[in-house]
Amino acid sequence: MIIVSGRVIDFLILVACFITFYVYVYWAERGKTFKIRKIPALEAVSEVIGRAVEQGRPVHFTSGGTGSLSDALAPQLLAGVGVLSHISKTCAELDAKLVVSEVHPDLLPLVVSTIETSYQIYGRDVPEDTVTYIPRGRTYTIGAAALIQREKVAANFMIGPFTHEAVFLAEAGSEAGAMQIAGTARVNQMPFFATVCDYILIAEDIYAAGAYIQGTPKVLGTIVGEDPFKILMFCLLIIGVILATFNVTWLMDILNM
């Protein structure tokens, strides 16, 4: 078995991650419990939806205007659906009106199915106009912003991969007087969410969101399992900076294998 040149270390890190995660899951199955830091954005979901119910205004969700289930942004989309599952359940429980503007056609059946499942738990039918499909590009930017303002949403959730529409939708939500929770792993759009929204999920937070909401020891174990690798990377960064300062390249050579 020969590993493709240039991907040897990547492969070893991936295998090491999988083994570590599995060890943490194994420990969880043996009764070990894990505590992770609180994520304020996810803790606030019920409060934000409760506020919308009190005001008699809808809750809006969108998963961003770029990517698809068959590209590198798919995990962000799935992470968004994980949060939508929690939002739709809370909406069904509190009888809040949910409106979803969805731009990804391949994600659409998943979004509809997730909402239906959530409503079924509380014995409710999903209102017909809950999910609106908006084609991507400028149409989505205008369409979603118009939906937010027309419906005067009281809660605006934006979780997924965003491009230029991030600031536009966040401002639309702000003008509508909505409390906003946003999350993306696209670093260029994070500053806009950070400045305009009430709560933000930064990068790895959105990947952890589904597991955080589930809260079972097994899935929390996989989040805790990331920590040894972050410490390892931190050490590698320090060593790398020192070596690069003295023009020593052996570490780089190993990592490029």
Partner: protein, 218 residues
């Protein structure tokens, strides 16, 4: 639908296809096998094409309902969308996408609207910048100063006031900013591997449209 069909079979398919594509990406395999992986990945394009049709039906259904109920202030826009959904493809099939009428409609509608949207984005940027650049505490003051230096680096007046502004702005853009971005990206990469692990082993079933916590007992 039985529990097995709804949960187990899709989880097994996810695991097998996921592991296969990972294997082919990292391990040198004969081209016949790597071609198989490319074929599986290209299925995504086919699914997107089919799903777009599904999306269009949902879009049309929502707007037809608004037209039928004559929703005040909205039905006329819904009518525009409904008509466009039929007219534009029809025009494409009759005249083709290189015909002058097709291009004219496109240039007079979508292009102009698009430009207008990008122009409006500027105002959103300006208002969000205003919100960000208020010195409320130490962190926002640092943000304000960093933003100020970067603006003075780009604007010609910066260099006219003091020659150090372009250097300072450049340093902010090229040293701390990419450093912070890379830190976020490294942490996100491990989050990405973790979500992949959970999806492959069926701990995360969001991709199956199964609500959180549902069916976690099996």
């Amino acid at each position: 639908m039985s529990n097995t069909i709804r949960r187990m079979i899709p989880t097994i398919i996810t695991f097998l296809i996921g592991m296969f594509t990972i294997f082919v990406y990292y391990i040198e395999v004969p081209s016949s096998i790597s071609d198989g992986s490319s074929t599986i990945i290209s299925w995504g394009t086919i699914i997107v094409a089919l799903a777009t049709g599904y999306g269009t039906i949902i879009l049309l259904r929502n707007h037809v309902r608004k037209i039928q109920t004559r929703q005040p202030g909205e039905w006329i826009y819904s009518l525009t969308i409904a008509v466009t959904i039929f007219v534009f493809p029809l025009l494409y099939f009759i005249a083709g996408d290189t015909s002058s009428i097709y291009k004219l409609i496109y240039d007079l509608t979508i292009s102009n609207i698009g430009l207008a949207v990008y122009a409006i984005v500027f105002f959103s940027l300006a208002t969000s910048s205003y919100k960000a650049f208020r010195a409320r505490n130490v962190n926002s003051t640092i943000l304000l100063l960093a933003g100020l230096f970067v603006m003075l680096q780009i604007a010609p007046i910066g260099a006219a006031i003091w020659g150090g502004f372009p250097i300072l702005g450049n340093w902010i853009l090229n040293v701390p900013t990419p450093g912070a971005f890379r830190g976020i990206n490294i942490a996100a990469a491990f989050g990405l591997i973790a979500i992949g692990f959970r999806t492959l082993l069926g701990y995360d079933r969001g991709h199956l449209g199964i609500s959180e916590g549902e069916g976690m007992e099996d």
